[in-house]
């Protein structure tokens, strides 16, 4: 088990390395000059070259990538040019390990930006996750137990709507009516959980519902399908034949077996969402990781793009690994290789 986890961790590192390398390569293959984006309307060739030097864009791509990797391990200092550092020691910005880089568009380290955005994305993801798991799995069970009846049809119908309505539409409807027109909830503005938990939840309830509506739909369908299949299994009939009470049959015997596919899907969805919910964050103007990612792309902010790709891919790859490890605990028939 221990060696299995160690091996998986190693593969996570390799995977993330490959993904960042690919992102770097793609970026330098594009015809856009990133230095041009750091130079405003009154750009002169002198300022342009100065910026290029300061950001290290004058160095070969491989060197830049090497510096990025080194920064992750030991930290870095900016500007990325010895002479500039010597000329203007007051401009030096320290970026301790794991340094994600320096954003030329925001004039600060990416670590700073991420540490501000991350709690927002985490709050949105975790709240939405809890909500959609309760609604999705609960709805799926109710639908499965009432297969073909009106309860089933209502739940599956609603799920279909949730699945087909785009997030930005649901988000905008929720923002317009309960928040702006009726004033039931505040217009979302992030308040730290430690500052005021009640306000934190009140501000995030709309983004949570928006995401949960979409995700719950697929969990309703998933849970319903697996539950119906499981309830027709022979071992469910055995449980009934033993005289096990109806609810214990459904939860202890039925849901236990449905857990495997649900955990798989849930782990991957949560992992993806932790990297930022781009559309939902944009609709509600919450500056989480998703917003940061969009912003970095529109401003051609190379270091931030690479950092964001690395963060998002790390979440997904790690979530994948955790799901695989969880299998070993959930399904006794799965033996994790040594």
């Amino acid at each position: 088990m221990f060696y299995y986890i160690l091996r998986r961790l190693a593969s996570v590192v390799v995977m993330v390395f490959l993904i960042t390398a690919t992102t770097f390569a793609l970026f330098f293959a594009s015809p856009i000059d990133p230095a041009r984006y750091t130079c405003g309307k009154n750009c002169t060739p002198t300022i342009l070259e100065g910026n290029r030097k300061a950001l290290g864009y004058d160095q070969p791509a491989t060197v830049q990538y090497g510096k990025f990797l080194a920064g992750l391990v030991v930290g870095r200092e900016f500007p990325d040019n010895e002479q500039l550092k010597a000329d203007h020691p007051e401009q030096i910005v320290k970026c301790p390990a794991p340094c994600l880089g320096y954003s030329p568009s925001q004039h600060r380290t990416i670590n700073e930006m991420v540490s501000e955005a991350w709690p927002i994305s985490l709050s949105i993801a975790v709240g939405a996750f809890i909500l959609w798991m309760l609604i999705g799995v609960g709805g799926g069970i109710v639908a499965a137990l009432n297969k073909g009846k009106w309860q089933d049809r209502t739940i599956v119908g609603t799920a279909l709507i949730g699945f087909s309505l785009p997030t930005f539409f649901v988000g905008l409807v929720l923002l317009t009516f309960p928040a702006i027109k009726w004033g039931w909830v505040p217009i979302p503005k992030y308040v730290g959980f430690t500052e005021n938990p009640a306000l934190w939840a009140a501000n995030l309830i709309l983004p949570w519902i928006t995401l949960a509506f979409f995700f719950a739909a697929s969990y309703v369908r998933l849970t319903r399908a697996y539950m119906i299949e499981t309830l027709s299994e022979d071992y469910i009939r055995t449980a009934n034949a033993k005289g096990v009470a109806k609810w214990a049959v459904i939860f202890k015997h039925g849901l236990r077996a449905v857990l495997t596919p649900i955990v798989t899907a849930a782990g991957l969805d949560l992992g993806g969402l932790l990297g930022g919910a781009i559309i939902t964050e944009s609709v509600f103007s919450l500056h989480g990781l998703g917003y940061l990612a969009v912003h970095s792309v529109t401003t051609m902010d190379l270091p931030t793009i690479v950092a964001m790709v690395m963060i998002v891919s790390t979440f997904i790859v790690v979530a994948n690994m955790l799901v695989d490890i969880a299998y070993g605990f959930i399904d006794p028939r799965v033996k994790l290789a040594k």
Partner: protein, 339 residues
Amino acid sequence: MNKFLRINDLKVHFPTDDGVVKAVDGLTFDLAKGTTLGIVGESGSGKSVTSLAIMGLHRGSRAKVSGEIWLDDIDLLKTTDEEIRAMRGRKMAMIFQDPLSAMHPYYTIGQQLTEAIRVHHHVSKKAAKVTVVDMLARVGIPSPDKRFDQYPHEFSGGMRQRAMIAMALINNPELLIADEPTTALDVTVQAQILDLMRDLQKEFGSAIIMITHDLGVVAEIADDVLVMYGGKCVEYAEVDDAFHAPDHPYTWGLMTSMPRLDRTRLERLVPVAGNPPSLINIPPGCAFHPRCTFREFASAPCDQVVPELVQSYPKHDSRCLIPAPKRAELFAEQIAPRL
């Protein structure tokens, strides 16, 4: 005195879009404690459906169950869901055919057997474990306390079936229904399992219903035999009569299609011609008439008149339009020499 289990005119019908499937259509039999009834028939003749009806396991499905099932003077069909649930696993228990799919893959054998006890008795897990380990040992599972913590997939087929039997017997049920308990097993294991069931019957005095399509198993263990065809009983007799003087052309077909080790004849086995009837469109008249090779001897047109189950000899009923003396003659002349 009333027998322990009495089933009267049991019908299990499944309404479907294509029509009503009459899986069991008017079945009557009874069973005393300490005795065994073998129910024989092809796949789809209604054997398993009957057993599920007795256990009340059709509840919540589309099946329409009617008739009477008296167990110890309680009509099981009139009980509430909760009443019959409390009887399942305690007063009556069932052994299923395929123990790999019939046991939960995510729980250990010990957990599943412990649950069977604790559903009905308020005992601690520790106390239940003692009973379980004891029962596992009794059904012949070696090192039961080690096996207690293993999962079904870590058991061999024979051991799994023993564990299944142990689970059914753990609360000393008065009625035990075994649905093809040995079909998936090697012949040697099969014999051990049958011995085991016989021993346990002696010990607990349970009534056993043995559902099978294997006549050898019936000969081995049953006191009475009930032959089913198309959801109906076609012959019902004590085991000796059923084997030495079978009284229905379908039973004859079953007998002559059975391979025998003690005869070294080179002639081929004679299967029962044709296929089992569709339970939606049961043939008019006698359900067996399209496959019957003796229909010319019937006293009435087989394809129009539905034969009744009548007592042709003491404790020996059969459902056939051929007059009983003629049947005896046909059996003596054509069937007996081939057995």
